[in-house]
Amino acid sequence: MKFRLNKGPFLRNKRTTTSIMLELFAVLAVVWAVSIGFYAAKYHVLAGLRVFGIGAISIVVTLLIDVIVALIKGKRKIVDIFKYVLKSYSYVTALIFALCLPAGTSFYVVVIGATVATVIGKYVFGGFGNNIFNPAIIGRIFVGLSFADKLQTIKVVKNVTSSMDTIDVAGSATLTAGMDWTTGINTYAQDNKINLLGTLFGEYQGAIGETFTILLLVAAIYLIIRGIVNYRLTFGYLISAALCCLVVALGYKVENVGEYLLTGLSTGGLMFAATFMITDPVTSPKSQDGKIIYAILAGFLTIFIRTFSTYPEGVMFSIALANMVTPLIDSCIKGNTFENLTKRYIKIAVVLVVCLGVSFGYTKLPKQDSQESVMLIEEYKGGTINEKIC
């Protein structure tokens, strides 16, 4: 009898990349469904429909692009095209992207964002597995920079003439943007009467998927137990962000450190990123200690951009920046992973200490809008500035 000459081993794990991605998509869909229900119940049925619409449009657009790419690549049979679309995993990108948008986002912005995410974020680099940046983040950064005024939250408008209420956009102010990180006072939270418990259960508006912190935490734990995301990434990112936040709070001598920390961790999509974005395996380093260093860097950058730069939200930029370092980290970690363990721990510790040191350091820099600059502006208005400069 003849036998096959296959390559060994002849026993393989049942887990495939497709099953991992489909399960991740299912978890994302649960978060999406909860958001739809939440918006419909808390605000208006139309708000729930909007949330559904944003996700659905994003998925449909990316699937269409996948089909077009499959046709360009010469796939003609329906089965081949279906297989190509299934194994491109753009639907996961689409849902992550959609969940990063606030509920009042214009639909055409969703279309543009999803297109940019798939085409520029993924196919330009050669498709799944080759992209340097997280595609969803590329899309989100693009719309964030180009259509900042179209990314708005919603409000319910009481209609006087008929009994039906309608919804309208409510501006692009967010909880994270309302936070003064140097003092820990959140004007947005005070105006909208949001307490700490509210930030944990999503009692405020932000991006669709990012507000329900507890649900995201449950999702993260589920994904870790199922072996779909690497816990080193999730916890590395959260711990690093928490430590940096703590150091910044101490540096600025904030009164209520606990509240400051909780606001830092539960708002602005940090928990969403820890669950679904930083854990994207394709754009994170391959080695285990590399993953930790990468997560620490991303966590630090998130807090750094939030509290020090002019951008209120740091999550997207921080992960995109950390993505750039991934190949460097991979090329630095060589040798046997069981040997020189102390050296490996020291490497991780050095990265963490440097991040914390920088975090503490910039809190001690002089504030930019100090009294002096205000005086300068006033002097300028009075026409005395020219003399002073001369």
Binding site: G8, I292, F338
Partner: protein, 434 residues
Amino acid sequence: MIITSRGKKHINGHKELTAHKDIIDLTNDKEVASLVYFPLVSPNGKEVELLVKAKDKVKVGTKIIQRIDFDVPIYSSVSGVVQGVENRYSALIGKPVDHIVIKNDYKYVMEKLPIIDYKKASREEIVEAIKNAGMVGLGGAGFPTFIKYSSNATITSLLINAVECEPYLTTDYVAMIKETKLFLEGVNILKKACGANEAIIAFKNNKKDLLEVLENELVNYENIRVVLVKDQYPMGWEKALIKTVYKKTYQRLPSDVGIVVNNAQTALSVAKALLNGECIHNRIVTVSGNAIKNPSNVLVPVGTLASEILNKCGGVTCDNACLLAGGPMTSKASLSDEFPIYTSFGALTVMEALNIESEACLRCGKCIEHCPAGLQPIQIKNAYDAKDVKDLEEFQTGKCVECGMCSYVCPSKIELTDAIKKAKLYLRLSQTKK
């Protein structure tokens, strides 16, 4: 562990298919082993000396081949007449080689080896007897046993490896259950042969019945104890086992840290040779896998054709099957089943061929996390694809033991083990060129 790689991982062993079935004795079955075959090369491909010629009459235990490389004899496993030399495929070498053919008369007349009283004999005498009995490691590698006991290093401990971490294999387990007393005698002999003051028998912690049987007998022996290890793959790899049992690591050989490792069945056959005067003539073979009709353990003379054994186990159930001389993780596939069983073959595994479609690397790092040798398989594959010799050296490619773990865990089904095998060869070639 939490921060860097974990190494070993649990793999479903499917041992229940054969572990608790009775061993089927095929030695007197006229359809099996009417002709037995012995390859005329040693496992490493070196030449051997043939001691018999056609039409010679042989008995069980007649010396027919002398290995030149290690000076170890090979004995006939049946009584009968030598028929001549025939060229056929050998799963041991991986290509067709000359085999000597012996016609079996099913009488099994035995020519006994000298019996020695090991309690009175000196260490050197025991090692010499082990050498003359043609003892080789029965765990799969077939490395001559006496060499491990002739080293000058001070040995403090003997480790009996009964882990059988490869899925489907149960020969060590059934052999130990069947001949517990003889097995422990063998351990005692080996303990004396290496001059160790203790012997440890290591096997997986899910074999509670074996533990009970052994502990009942162990009261009669001093300084032999059982250590249970986790059900993980590849726990049976010497380095991994020594690290688990003794918390020691070494670079080259276990004797560097004062340990000798031997397989459980080797201990059993040493006892048979020194106490009963039997050479290794019969062999328990696990016939298992997901594409064989009646998975079972069979007792056959060494040199029996695999095809005859497969027929006795109900045959293969599907058209696209892979036949492996050994377990499914480390063995190579054989094109035909017309090859003889060698002394060190513990199993014939018939697996349904998997339809594997590789995808782009997800970069999840699972292969790195679970590599028992602490390597980075995907990085080695990338370096090999780029033919980067410097990187191949830095990633310690030569330390790969080809356990198959990386290909097993890979969700994208990339043929990592295969690529690393090629990378090792490429690295060795380019190093010799310098």
